[in-house]
Symmetry: C2
Subunit: 436 residues, 2 copies
């Protein structure tokens, strides 16, 4: 305990975060690169905040006049510096999805669109901006991660911007766009023959032998807090109120829990009125350990071997799975899984109705939303927010072959007219509409 | 003239735009889907504004408290509606590029990063948001375009969001990401066997025979105004002042002229102080008709047949080429061209120093910036803004093979350590830094 107090005093009197604490047994630790309750129970560590201090500092007006990025919520994030790494991350659009809502029979549906998050087009830019800012404060010069792709893109890009050395680890079978979208920034890229869970175990070993800052291992308590901003932004963008129901993808389960925590914190400090928000989670059938536990009313997760096109959420042994289960249950939400074919249909549906091209994880979320609506598990009148977490340009393989081909024509009017006639005979609803 | 006045009166008393006018002879036309001075000289038409009315309406505070999108500048844009199509387009980051600046020997360099513009990751979302809003006002139900790729993505996506039918035309040899990134939204996609200039000619014919709104043909006077927001945003983001020097890619030349017009309009209505800004343009050697005319001191453009990896700016017969020439000359700017190899190096340089993954057009801009610095044509102390107009995930072919490969390893610590040792022997500056 003495160590904790010293640390809190030495880092800054103006700090709003004071310690790390075990989520299971409550043991406190100093604010270093720790993530596991090593002294007692091996539970995960979380950042402890001084909410009285936060309440004194924040107001709706102060936040609204802050930077147009996640750093408008700096008082809720575990960094001390006044100059965090800010590459425009966050404040992505909350899109009123009227055409998709009509298609599904809903009235108030929003898409939180992190497919256009900056700089690397996924929600991971949020957690990495926080983790690398904290890594710099803790003195790391090399940063690293175990990734299913988006995290590798984000860590490599933001490390390049910040001038940090970078080595990232991915499963070797990732989509081309995610590999190239990492290499371009010039990190060391290790492609591990195995699935994400094997990559993750290897990285835990490397974290112990090299003095690197692994954003989602030894920096995980700081890193994961970045996802709270997905809760904060939705509340602010809805005019400082909470939605009735959210649907989000489940990989490790961390994102889900942090959106929940974001809503709770805003309520606790008086920025929004208290409200019961239902939390529903989306998984791919090919990797659905949390959905299976939910359906079978288990309170433990049985790990699975992933086999799905939704690689970015293919975590067979999810670290925060039990916490996600708990949140879904206590909020009267649900957790569902969909097939790869349904995922592709979800990607197409979102693109054709809203002009948003998401990756497979987003297709999973939309397909689960559709399934919940069809099962009567979404009230048409409730305000529902679906979280879209990544961009479709990174998982082009998933839809190639399922969205038709261009009509190739000569640069002549009669060739075009013949093609238009041909298009009439094709089985695409849109084409027929345009040509009638 | 009578027709013009009637039109202006009928559309709205609150309009800040009053007519279309020929850029060459000054003849005025009504505010319909017209783009060519058909009655007199076949020059291009431009929107005419009532700047006294704009001056009465706008202020720095009013703009700053407007939407976080191009629509904060609505008084400068040719639409009447109070509910334009707003999918979060614009207000992309102006990134202080400190690491790239140090690398080049500059002191105040900024990247205007439209690689993360919403929704489809290029500056085209700006012009399409304006064009489709206007198309809806003019009663079009089907929209179309001739595109080198980014415009097709944007038109298809925003049309889907707005519920407009859509048919787009591209050269058949485009990058896979641009084709798939169009098809996903469900338009009719015509792949024309020929280059962009042939596509464009075909579309001019189609525009005459079908009642469609072609954003960059019959709607071009409205469409092109959207690019002014790239000037407005930079001025606002620099704290309501103009930069000393801008570098932007040249395709048709329209973007260049509209950034210039944006700066002029802000000066005219008193939002920024008057200042001489130098305008420099970037082309690929494989399609550099404007750069060639500049170097040879010609005041006319000789069309060329494009042959470059920078397909998005490969316009051999640029519609606004002579205007771009004129602007570069009268502002003491310059126009340069770079090779395809230099373009790839430009993409890598921007990614490795700033964490920004741009497409080939952006690589062209960075490579030209580097060339200008090396030639002593950029003052290290001047505030320079380089415009990055599109995202690298759409032109992956350009860099595949030039950025190395992942190191494939087994999921074992000793395999990782051997790979780290192997990495030491590789010829990548970054890897050696990390491993020393």
């Amino acid at each position: 305990m003495t160590q904790v107090i010293e640390q809190a005093t030495s880092t800054a009197p103006q700090s709003t975060f004071t310690a790390l604490r075990c989520k299971e047994c409550g043991e406190e630790y100093s604010l270093g690169a720790n993530h596991v309750c090593e002294d007692v129970c091996f539970g995960p560590l979380e950042v402890v905040y001084d909410y009285d201090e936060i309440r004194r500092r924040v107001s709706r007006d102060a936040i609204a006049s802050g930077p147009n990025s996640i750093w408008r919520y700096k008082d809720f994030l575990p960094v001390n510096t006044d100059t965090p790494i800010d590459v425009g991350t966050g404040m992505t659009p909350l899109v009123p999805a009227n055409r998709l809502a009509r298609h599904l029979g809903l009235k108030r549906l929003y898409i939180k669109n992190d497919a256009v998050n900056m700089p690397t087009l996924s929600f991971k830019d949020r957690v990495v901006s926080v983790a690398l800012t904290r890594a710099r404060e803790l003195g790391f010069s090399t940063v690293s991660c175990a990734s299913t792709g988006n995290l590798a893109n984000s860590t490599a890009a933001i490390a390049a911007h910040a001038g940090l050395d970078c080595c990232v680890f991915i499963p070797a079978d990732l989509e081309a766009g995610k590999i190239l979208g990492t290499l371009i920034y010039g990190p060391i890229l290790m492609a591990v023959e195995g699935n994400y869970d094997q990559v993750n175990r290897l990285c835990s070993e490397v974290a112990n032998t090299h003095g690197w800052g692994f954003v989602n291992i030894n920096l995980r308590p700081y890193y994961s807090e970045g996802s709270k901003t997905l809760g904060f932004e939705v509340a602010e963008q809805l005019g400082w109120q909470l939605p009735d129901h959210i649907v989000a993808p489940l990989a490790s389960g961390s994102l889900f829990g942090k959106i929940y925590k974001g809503f709770q914190e805003f309520t606790k400090v008086g920025l929004v009125a208290d409200k019961a928000v239902r939390f529903s989670g989306a998984q791919a059938e090919g990797c659905s350990p949390i959905a299976q536990a939910f359906q079978e009313s288990r309170d433990f997760i049985s790990p699975v071997k992933p086999n799905t096109i939704a690689k970015s959420i293919a975590i067979g042994n999810p670290a925060d799975g039990v916490y996600a289960l708990d949140i879904a249950r206590k909020t009267q939400g649900t957790i569902e899984a969909v097939t790869d074919a349904e995922i592709v249909e979800g990607m197409k549906l979102l693109a054709e109705t809203e002009g948003i091209f998401t990756e497979t994880a987003g297709g999973t979320t939309i397909a689960v939303l559709k399934k919940l609506v069809e099962a009567g598990k979404v009230d048409p009148d409730e305000t529902t927010v679906a979280y879209i977490t990544g961009n479709g340009l990174k998982t082009q393989e998933a839809v190639a072959g399922y969205i038709g081909e261009p009509l190739t024509i000569e640069a002549k009017l009669d060739s075009f007219e013949r093609a238009l006639d041909r298009a009439r005979t094709l089985d695409r609803l849109e084409w027929q509409q345009i040509l009638v």
